[in-house]
């Protein structure tokens, strides 16, 4: 039989890496959401945000978080670079397009446009990281809750967030079950379980994240 493949240069190996980095980013989403929900305790009189601020301090200063932060950054980079790389390779696999093609009759648009929802989420992240992480940690050195209050006072900024979260939801809708499939786990007896985990992710996580800006815009 022929030669074995090198894991990272084979199509399946690359896809497994993409799937694993995706799962890693999903785990981050859960942590990120749980901590952010504490911001909802902030009251208009300026009290209530102590716990959230403590978390923020811990995250920004404790040495144990540093390697986690760097691996998170590396995880994002790996997922994005590999995703774009595979997208380009896939375009090259069909140099001449069909004159008439009806893909909507054989597949969902979330699956066909996962690359696009991914790029849009990536673009959102650049703005998002600048608004909060970079400003709070490196430029203005003020607690995170201040930035949350300021940013989410603007209806335009909140709208931008809602749109981004819709894209995140669509990306997760395809991505999560796709990652299970790539790891070979999406088979008969687990399919229902995977679909259930999928709904938690693509629906509940974006909704959870949406509550925060809406709270600060309307209820705060």
């Amino acid at each position: 039989m022929g030669k074995p493949t090198k894991f990272l240069t084979s199509s399946v190996g690359r896809k497994i890496t993409l799937a694993l980095s995706g799962f890693f980013l999903c785990s981050f989403l859960v942590v990120h959401l749980v901590i952010n929900l504490f911001a909802l305790k902030a009251k208009p009189d300026g009290t209530g945000a102590e716990m959230f601020t403590q978390y923020g301090d811990f995250m920004a200063t404790h040495p144990i978080i540093r390697p986690l932060e760097w691996s998170l950054f590396a995880g994002f980079l790996l997922h994005a670079v590999l995703g774009i790389f595979l997208f380009i390779k896939n375009r090259q696999a069909r140099p001449v397009r069909y004159d008439m093609n009806r893909p909507s009759e054989n597949s969902t648009w979330t699956s066909r446009f996962a690359w696009l929802t991914g790029i849009l989420v990536g673009a959102f992240l650049v703005v998002h990281i600048n608004t909060f992480f970079i400003q709070s940690r490196f430029i203005q050195h003020r607690p995170m809750i201040d930035f949350i209050k300021e940013a989410f006072a603007s209806p335009a900024y909140v709208t931008f967030y809602m749109v981004a979260l819709v894209f995140l939801g669509y990306h997760l809708k395809h991505g999560l079950q796709s990652a299970f499939q790539t790891l070979g786990l999406r088979v008969g007896r687990y399919e229902k379980l995977i679909d259930a985990i999928g709904v938690v992710f693509w629906l509940l996580i974006p909704i959870g994240f949406a509550i925060i800006p809406l709270y600060f815009l309307f209820a705060y």
Binding site: G2, S11, G13, N90, R94, M100, N106, R186
Partner: protein, 251 residues
């Protein structure tokens, strides 16, 4: 036979050979019986073309009963046309409506270069099979068929995978031009059975390596392949290929 015939327009990809630039040519096609198969309709067109001194449209066909997998064509934006679970030769003209324009294109993928008109070179599939789609056994006296017991469930699953006719619709329909459904059906069929077990590690690696070398795209799990496969082969086999690959790398 139905009395009524249909008037159709055919927009067909014509390409002289591998290296020339192709283009669409539209043909008026009156007098089509709804009972004709799609290939019979093309035969009729070719008859007319030849009578007029024009060159016939080249298309692959052999069995004309959905088992050889040669009749590759992209009809109105779908691999093997609009119906589920059939090949182009099993498609009948009653599926279409009178006056309709039907667009007929070859499979489009880098790994399936066009030879002429609707005929593509699918030998990439053969090379993937040569890389690992076999079992190495010494020939000799035929062993007893029941000497190795195989559970019904496993035998059925292997049979489902073995239903693949290598038509290439999975590649044609996939937005990535990926051959994963084909390769996974072959890997799966052999990995499931005791005879294929011994070489499962080298097989999956060799077949994936050849698949990549041929220039097929990377599967992004849109499952268009499963939807368009004339044998309705499940993407569960792709999951199995992925498992086989992880196992080969880890164990």
């Amino acid at each position: 036979m139905s009395e009524q015939t249909m008037n159709l327009k055919l927009k067909i990809w014509r390409q002289k050979d591998k290296n020339s630039k192709g283009q669409f040519v539209t043909y008026a096609m009156p007098g089509v019986s709804p009972d004709m198969s799609f290939l019979e309709m093309l035969d009729l067109l070719n008859l007319k073309l030849v009578r007029n001194g024009e060159e016939a449209v080249a298309f692959d066909h052999d069995c004309r009963e959905g088992i050889c997998g040669t009749c590759s064509m992209f009809i109105n934006g779908r691999a093997h046309g609009p119906l589920k679970g059939i090949t182009a030769c099993q498609l009948h003209m009653r599926t279409f409506t009178d006056g309709e324009t039907i667009v007929i294109e070859p499979w489009r993928a880098k790994a399936f270069p066009i030879i002429k008109d609707l005929v593509v070179d699918r030998s990439a599939f053969e090379r993937i099979m040569q890389a690992g789609g076999f079992v190495s056994v010494r020939t000799g006296g035929a062993p007893d068929g029941n000497a190795i017991p195989i559970s019904k469930a496993v035998a059925d699953e292997a049979m489902d995978a073995a239903a693949c006719i290598g038509c290439g619709a999975c590649v044609a329909a996939c937005k990535n031009g990926s051959a994963m459904l084909f390769v996974s059906a072959k890997v799966s069929q052999l990995a499931l059975l005791p005879q294929g077990y011994a070489e499962r590690k080298t097989r999956v690696e060799a077949m994936v390596a050849q698949m990549d070398a041929e220039g097929f795209g990377n599967c992004s799990n849109t499952y268009a392949c499963e939807a368009e496969c004339p044998k309705m082969i499940s993407v569960e086999h792709i999951a199995r290929l992925n498992r086989e690959y992880v196992r080969a790398k880890l164990v």
